[in-house]
Subunit: 349 residues, 2 copies
DNA sequence: TGCATTTATGTAACCGGTTACACCAAAATT
DNA sequence: AATTTTGGTGTAACCGGTTACATAAATGCA
């Protein structure tokens, strides 16, 4: 592997001049510049980014720490991040911390010295532990972490509002007895969605005490919930699943049992995965723009990298209702909300 | 940001000793080691991976260069790569070259000095240009690039065999007049699939001259092809789309037109995207394990990194037929094939 | 007790770049 | 013609670690 010293020697100049010539500094004679670039081309010289970033104190890379790499969710997120990062000339260093808090800490450690900023989607963690494992002085943005619990810029989906809006839409459409198929108990999104459902039912659902079925975000869990409803002959007129995959499982069982959707029972999901448009009937759901969330997070990080010490901003992305064939209500659109929050130290001092 | 010199000073030892103590070398007194680790903890010292990899000549990272970041395909691929890489203690440096050959070259340049190996999924490129832009001495594995055209280990899906097998299965199931909805002309996978279809038809399809409809891998293209068939009242008893999305578009139009699937017309796709199981009827398709391809590529790279100069190996992953409701034939399973190829220089010398 | 061997620690070079500063020749100013 | 300014190039320090080698202290053995 050829180094800049090889190029310098071959061109008959010092390494300093070679470096200047290759980096387009102006105070280099045209003749010398040509000699250097020619030598570099002839030797197939490729600069060593690692060494460069050591002196420059910039790596042109940003670290992305994710809980796992499954499914559409991750793919969309990275695409959104990349769309912004690529334009700004940054590479992405990806790390999968496999769901554990300790894994997060070690993933973050491994990033130090090779990235200029960090995008972290933390697992269910103690905010204090998370704060402690963040390298001081490294710009960071959290993705989908409850804002307020820690003084770091963040972006998140407003799961609560989305679930609330869907529940309200179902009620407005004439449904009275709505059951919720919930997600894993230890999942933040699932809990927020459940909370939105419960609050809406409590405030607008009349005296009916809402039924909550356990689930784990899998298709099979949705199917199981539907079977439970059918076997128990429970009177419900709507099933609101905490995510689309469960709604899909649900739908398959209902069809098999000959229960009409949406006339007998309405069904709704959450996420708007690509599959949602293609079920029969097409699934009504809450549309979540994951790619937008990634892009927003990266933009926030860029602002930090370029601007400097702005107050910690927290974006809450509003999801939109996407009403299709499994319910009988019209499409309702919601708008995005941005919350600016002052840094904690400002409040303290 | 604290450096190892800060730690050394604080512990009252030289940087060399600090380094040794932190890296678990044995020739360090227990007392000194404790002093050093305590100082490191107190100062919240995190080693600078960039600096370390400069001396160690190892970065514990591997670069992944992809043509784009869209959809399920990419997500599965990265997941497969990560499953192997993570276990071996490697991080992933991701780069999106946005489809262009020049983008590929610059993405590869940016990787030099920060990764120990490269996984590249090249766009439609001149093999010579690609070979020229690869850094010499950096272990590399190509993903989904025609083996043989360049002397570098590679893994790829056997699109030709998959398309051939599906065509043969359709013929064996009694279909005679099979039309193929092809993918983009400038896409390697699409061309191979078309070739497999044409060869199978030529050899086993009798005197019927196969119909080839243009497409571009989108759902709309599949729908358009189906409309063309219906409008032209063309006599076909099977539609084999070059990918699942087109088959899905096709299916929707056929259902709307009241044409029975599979009795009147059989439909088949390629890829086995998650959606395929959920169409009605469920889509028969060619199952491609993208994650396996990623894992295989990473394994090949690991072998190069650890083993050293083995002959360039080329894996051709065999897809499997996944027969569901849109055809009337039973499931047929195929097995994986591995082709070992000696290095070119060995043949030359 | 004296000498050889082992072991813990320090010194300094190095990885591959960038850049502050020194230097010298050529050009501009007086 | 002497002096200052300008600008291209080289020298060497530096980024933050690791490690070969030197050295001093501790141990083993005669």
């Amino acid at each position: 592997m050829t180094t800049i010293r090889d190029v310098a020697r071959s061109a008959g100049v010092s390494v300093a001049t070679a470096s200047r010539a290759l980096n387009g500094h102006l105070n280099v004679t045209d003749g010398v510049r040509k000699r250097v670039t020619d030598a570099a081309a002839a030797l197939n010289y490729i600069p060593h980014s690692g060494a460069r970033s050591l002196t420059r104190q910039r790596s042109e890379a940003i670290g992305v720490v994710l809980p796992d790499l499954f499914g559409e969710y991750f793919s969309e997120l990275v695409r959104g991040i990349d769309s912004v990062a690529h334009q700004a000339g940054f590479q992405l260093l990806l790390s999968n911390m496999h769901g554990s808090a300790q894994g997060t800490a070690s993933a973050i450690r491994a990033m130090r010295g090779r990235v200029d900023g960090l995008l972290i989607m933390p697992p269910e963690t103690d905010p204090a532990y998370l704060a402690a494992s963040l390298p001081p002085g490294l710009p960071t943005v959290l993705i989908n972490y409850p804002s307020g619990s820690i003084d770091i810029p963040s972006v998140a989906i407003d799961n609560y509002s989305g679930a609330r809006a869907m529940t309200e839409a179902l009620l407005a459409g004439g449904c009275k007895r709505i059951a919720h198929i919930s997600g894993p108990r230890d999942n933040r999104d699932a809990r927020e969605r459940l909370r939105g459902f419960v609050d809406a039912m409590r405030e607008l659902g009349g005296e009916y005490s809402p039924l909550i079925l356990p689930g784990d975000f899998t298709e099979e869990a949705g199917a199981e919930a539907a079977r439970l409803i059918i076997a128990g002959n429970v009177a419900v007129d709507a099933l609101f699943a905490a995510n689309d995959m469960m709604a899909v499982g649900c739908l398959a069982v209902l069809r098999e049992a000959g229960i009409d959707v949406p006339d007998k029972v309405a069904v709704a999901g959450f996420d708007d995965i690509p599959l949602a448009r293609h079920t029969y009937p097409a699934l009504s759901t809450v549309e979540v723009h994951i790619a937008d969330m990634g892009a927003a997070a990266m933009s926030l990080l860029l602002a930090q990298l370029q601007g400097g010490g702005e107050p910690a901003e927290n974006h809450l992305l509003q999801p939109a209702l996407m009403m299709r064939g499994t319910t009988t209500i019209r499409h309702i659109k919601m708008r995005r909300k941005t919350v600016k929050k002052h840094r904690l130290e400002r409040e303290i001092t």
